[in-house]
Symmetry: C2
């Protein structure tokens, strides 16, 4: 999600390249290191125009790389974007030794943030809880190949975002996405406490330890 | 879920102890090894009678052990039961080297099985996608403390259920739950392919490798 326009990738592309309508988004739990090794990888080809989603499916669907169509492109983009922010928080929790109970609770509450934002924007809940939402969230939070999780681990070790960025030769998308998504959530009054915490850690000097302690002790009597 | 009656724990207790109505279920991602070490653990206290759920919450809510109330007890029991079956499949996939893309896809499709069964039985989708469903599924599929995941790992190494059971000094609930849940799914015609595969591996000699290959190559064009 772009910081000022609140557009996702397909919206940016359609605004910049108006002759190319109906961008198709291919997304899902698909770390390239595993897909290229021939391990089973299930992804979503998403476009409001099902014919175009199917055309992309037919190009990429091969062997263990399995492509499913979905017309809810916006829902796919929301999941693929917010999950990177949650993965930064997961890396922090992992490095601080919170254990699998805490990590599972964080991911569940993170999934609820994806669903709340997505509902507001008009995505479908089946999409958030499908491959491009929940599936991608799981891979990104657990995989050693995840750059966003790695950023969280390094933040928890006391490094600043600037230090991490100068020594990383790939982009961790969550550090960009969090600006737009946090801004949109504030503007629209959507409750996204994990996103807010990651933003404050990255840009306002909040300590990862204090942030996670605050997250785990939030007042909430009903689930 | 009991094999013949299709009752969950609260239903069995209320049938056997009719003087004790309104059983409260405490469930969620809560491996005892971590909770007893004081690590953050978030669970659900569930009962149709909110007052009773709150009474149990007040007893257990302390420090990093955080208890949230939920009146959808049935939904909580469904998540807590089916997740053990999916964790057996996750252990198999892990041991067979399927990687995090495949594991995430399996868990996402497993979550869909929980939701399909739960919807049929009358549980609420917020519960399945909450701590006692998705949260518990994540912990159980990933944690080294998970007995059900350990059963899957050993099945993938070629051991039989009988061999595993004689050398395990704790119960892996999924090996019991799968009988009732698979029977109910067959009776009610609910699509639960992972549950079916785990049943066939445990009781009909299907090889874990063949079962997972079949799961990952199922025909499905739309997500």
């Amino acid at each position: 999600m772009e910081e000022k326009t609140f557009l996702f990738v397909s919206g940016i592309l359609e605004a910049e390249l108006p002759a190319h309508k109906d961008v198709v988004i291919l997304s899902g739990p698909s770390h390239a290191e595993e897909a290229s090794a021939g391990l089973p990888t299930l992804v979503v080809s998403a476009c409001p125009d099902l014919k175009k989603a199917t055309a992309v499916q037919e190009i990429f669907h091969q062997g263990n790389f399995r492509v499913y169509t979905n017309t809810d492109r916006l829902g796919v983009e929301i999941g693929g974007s917010v999950k990177n922010i949650i993965a930064i928080a997961a890396g922090i929790c992992f490095e601080l030794g919170y254990g699998s109970n805490g990590l599972a609770a964080l991911m569940t509450r993170g999934m609820a943030e994806i669903a709340r934002l997505g509902k507001k924007l008009g995505g479908k809940s089946e999409t958030f809880y499908g491959l491009a939402g929940m599936g991608d969230l799981i891979t990104t939070c657990f995989s050693e190949h995840s750059r966003n999780r790695a950023v969280g681990v390094r933040l928890a070790r006391g490094e600043s975002l600037a230090q991490i960025e100068t020594s990383m030769n790939m982009v961790a998308e969550g550090t960009y996405a969090v600006r737009g998504i946090r801004g949109y959530a504030k503007k629209e009054n959507i409750d996204m406490p994990i996103t807010e915490a990651v933003y404050r850690i990255l840009f306002e000097g909040l300590s990862p330890k204090q942030a996670t302690q605050e997250l785990f002790s939030r007042q909430a009597r009903g689930e």
